[in-house]
């Protein structure tokens, strides 16, 4: 890992980028220098976050505002749908086991079904939900970028 001095790749004016971070080659290390934290005042930090950077170009027009609102809406809808689907499956398990306790006691390879379900079966569902979400979220962002760069 030699990336100690790299600038924030997003190029935003975040506190990290405000520090004059000189690249430090591992071979020729200079003497240790004292550095100070960005420590911006309250207002300054907020203004920096709100300041117009390269990503904010899109929002300076009315069309840009429409695009970003629709991006936020579709990302939120996606997150809620995935979370809702997952929670339905998750809550289905205890309901199933309390409605039909006999099902949970059925032995599979000598282990009761309820143990396999809760100890093993839920984890692939979590991973699958996450994977589906990441694909769709990236697609939403691509759509946003295409729209805001077309203008």
């Amino acid at each position: 890992m030699t990336g100690a001095g790299e600038q924030d790749p997003s190029g935003t004016s975040s506190p990290a980028a405000a520090v004059p971070a000189a690249p430090v080659p591992a071979a020729a290390r200079p003497a240790r220098v004292r550095v100070t934290a960005p420590s911006p005042s309250a207002r300054e930090r907020s203004r920096r976050l709100a300041a117009a950077g390269p990503r904010d170009a899109a929002e300076q027009t009315e069309a840009g505002e429409v695009f970003i609102r629709s991006l936020i809406r579709s990302q939120l809808r996606l997150a809620v749908v995935v979370a809702g689907g997952f929670l339905l499956i998750l809550l289905g398990f205890p309901v199933l086991l309390s409605v039909a306790p006999a099902v949970g006691a059925i032995p599979v390879f000598g282990i009761p079904f309820s143990w396999l379900l809760l100890g093993l079966g839920i984890y692939p569902v979590i991973g699958l939900s996450a994977w589906l979400y990441i694909r769709s979220a990236a697609r939403n962002e691509d759509t946003y970028r295409d729209l805001s760069e077309e203008r």
């Binding site: 934290a37 117009a52 997150a79 991973g127 990441i134």
Partner: protein, 488 residues
């Protein structure tokens, strides 16, 4: 058990941690490095580090202990701990990374432009961090007492000393390496002995006792958990993960929003694999060591099983490995919490200098040490579960509404977080005094199911009643949070 085994394992982990910390110190140069590793840590490293930091005493010792005592009811703990990261991925990961803030209080202030809301968030972060560190130190005390016979306080003190040395020396850059190493150490420390035990049991022909008795035996004096209790626990774990300060600070070390998501996906895989093993230990303990549940030593099941089931030097070696993994758990979670608390405290009290960060780190570790030394430990996984309920009722609503709702105001955020803190904290304190029976105790002992919605309701309604920032400023901030970065 041979006391030398425990001492040796502890020394090995401490030395390895210090060495990796020192290596990290040599590449950590700027304040940016010091706080968030310059945001250039690769997803696999970062995911291992998140796993290393997250898997605490509650996961390493507590889950198996609870499974020993409560059976299937306890399987919800690892599910909640893992699925919490799914919620984090869905609602928080990428926007939080894109916010460009260092800590949760930084985020609050940037989003709401209010020093007051920042101070309330800082106070909550410090409270959460302290109470999360306490069970780690109690776990260390338990481990030292069980494995070496030394007094429990020496374990807690040892953890605090090692953590302070590493954090003060290296900051987060070295912490990232240390944490990543410790995830793999923890996984190895559970997986290898588990495999050995299973092979050994199969080899000696020692049969697993009657499966129905093992899996359904009622060892819990309080009886099986009610549906309410299970639901409330799952809510606490799912939404509490969102607000854990040491988990959030990790996301700032991703280069951009998309890699923050990729990192979270890897974390989910790492956690799913890890939690297989506490479950196996819990089932083995139900079969071969049910006396631990009755003797109030359930949390020590993982430490004692290898020695009990595998005789001779092989058993000693496996025990040493498990003890090393346990100390990795205490050290990594404690140092992660201390780093994030020190980041918050030093920015608010000491102006954010490196020296202030070091002072703050020592302060952040000393207070929980005093609490841990002056209180008795409950079940590890249970007390960590209550910390999750508290974060879910305070920091989680502020983050979710701040990221997704334009209408959040500083007054709303402060009112909602305070209401959640009072309701949840009060319920936990009163619940500890009420006799453990009846519906009132249920509501107080596992409060997340009603305190989380209450905090959201207060936050939304007070925000509606107060006037917010100018719409143009909110749009700029929302764009920063949600728009993808230009460069990939």
């Amino acid at each position: 058990m041979n006391p030398a085994v425990g001492v040796l394992a502890l020394l090995l982990v401490a030395v390895a941690t210090a060495l990796i910390g020192f290596y990290g110190l040599r590449v950590s140069r700027t304040t940016g490095d010091f706080y968030v590793a310059s945001r250039t840590v690769r997803p696999w490293w970062n995911a291992s580090a998140i796993g290393g930091e997250y898997l605490s005493a509650a996961s390493f010792l507590g889950v198996a202990g609870l499974i020993l005592v409560s059976g299937t009811d306890a399987l919800w703990f690892p599910i909640g701990y893992t699925a919490g990261y799914l919620m984090l991925l869905l609602f928080v990961a990428a926007p939080l990374r894109r916010s460009g803030a260092y800590t949760i209080p930084d985020f609050t202030e940037a989003r709401l432009d209010s020093p007051g809301a920042r101070r309330v968030t800082s106070a909550l972060v410090v409270v959460v961090g302290w109470f999360y560190i306490v069970p780690q130190l109690q776990g260390a005390g338990l481990t030292i007492r069980i494995t070496t016979g030394l007094p429990a306080w020496s374990g807690a003190v040892a953890v605090v000393v090692v953590v302070c040395l590493t954090v003060v020396a290296g900051g987060m850059r070295s912490i990232t390496f240390v944490q990543a190493f410790q995830y793999w150490l923890k996984l190895t420390a559970l997986a290898v002995p588990a495999a050995f035990i299973l092979v050994h049991l199969a080899g000696t022909g020692r049969s697993f006792p009657d499966s129905a008795a093992v899996y359904t035996a009622a060892l819990d004096p309080q009886g099986p958990a009610s549906l309410y209790r299970t639901l409330s626990l799952v809510i606490a774990l799912l939404f509490g993960t969102l607000g854990l300060p040491h988990v959030l600070v990790r996301f700032y070390t991703n280069p951009d929003g998309r890699s923050a998501r990729r990192t979270t996906l890897i974390v989910l895989g790492l956690l799913s694999v890890f939690y297989l093993f506490p479950t196996i230990y819990g089932a083995l303990a139900r079969a071969f060591a049910p006396d631990l549940a009755a003797g109030g030593q359930a949390d020590a099941a993982v430490l004692l099983l290898p020695g009990r089931l595998v005789p001779g030097p092989a058993g000693d070696a496996l025990t040493a490995l498990v003890v090393a993994g346990a100390f990795a758990a205490f050290l990594s979670t404690t140092s992660g919490l201390v780093v994030s608390l020190a980041g918050v405290v030093s920015q608010d009290l000491f102006g954010g200098s490196v020296k202030g960060f070091r002072t703050a780190a020592v302060l952040s570790a000393a207070v929980p040490l005093l609490v841990a030394l002056s209180t008795d430990s409950g079940a590890l996984a249970g007390s960590v579960g209550l910390v999750f309920a508290f974060t879910a009722s305070t920091i989680c609503p502020m983050l979710l509404l701040g990221i997704w709702w334009r209408g959040l105001t500083p007054a709303g955020a402060v009112a909602g977080m305070s209401a959640g803190a009072l309701l949840c904290g009060g319920a936990i304190l009163i619940g500890a005094q009420v006799a453990p029976a009846g519906p009132v105790h249920e509501l107080l002992a596992q409060p997340a199911a009603w305190t989380v919605p209450a905090a959201f309701a207060v936050m939304v309604s007070v925000s509606r009643a107060t006037k917010g920032q100018s719409p143009a400023a909110v749009t700029r901030i929302m764009t920063r949070l949600h728009a993808p970065e230009r460069t990939y």
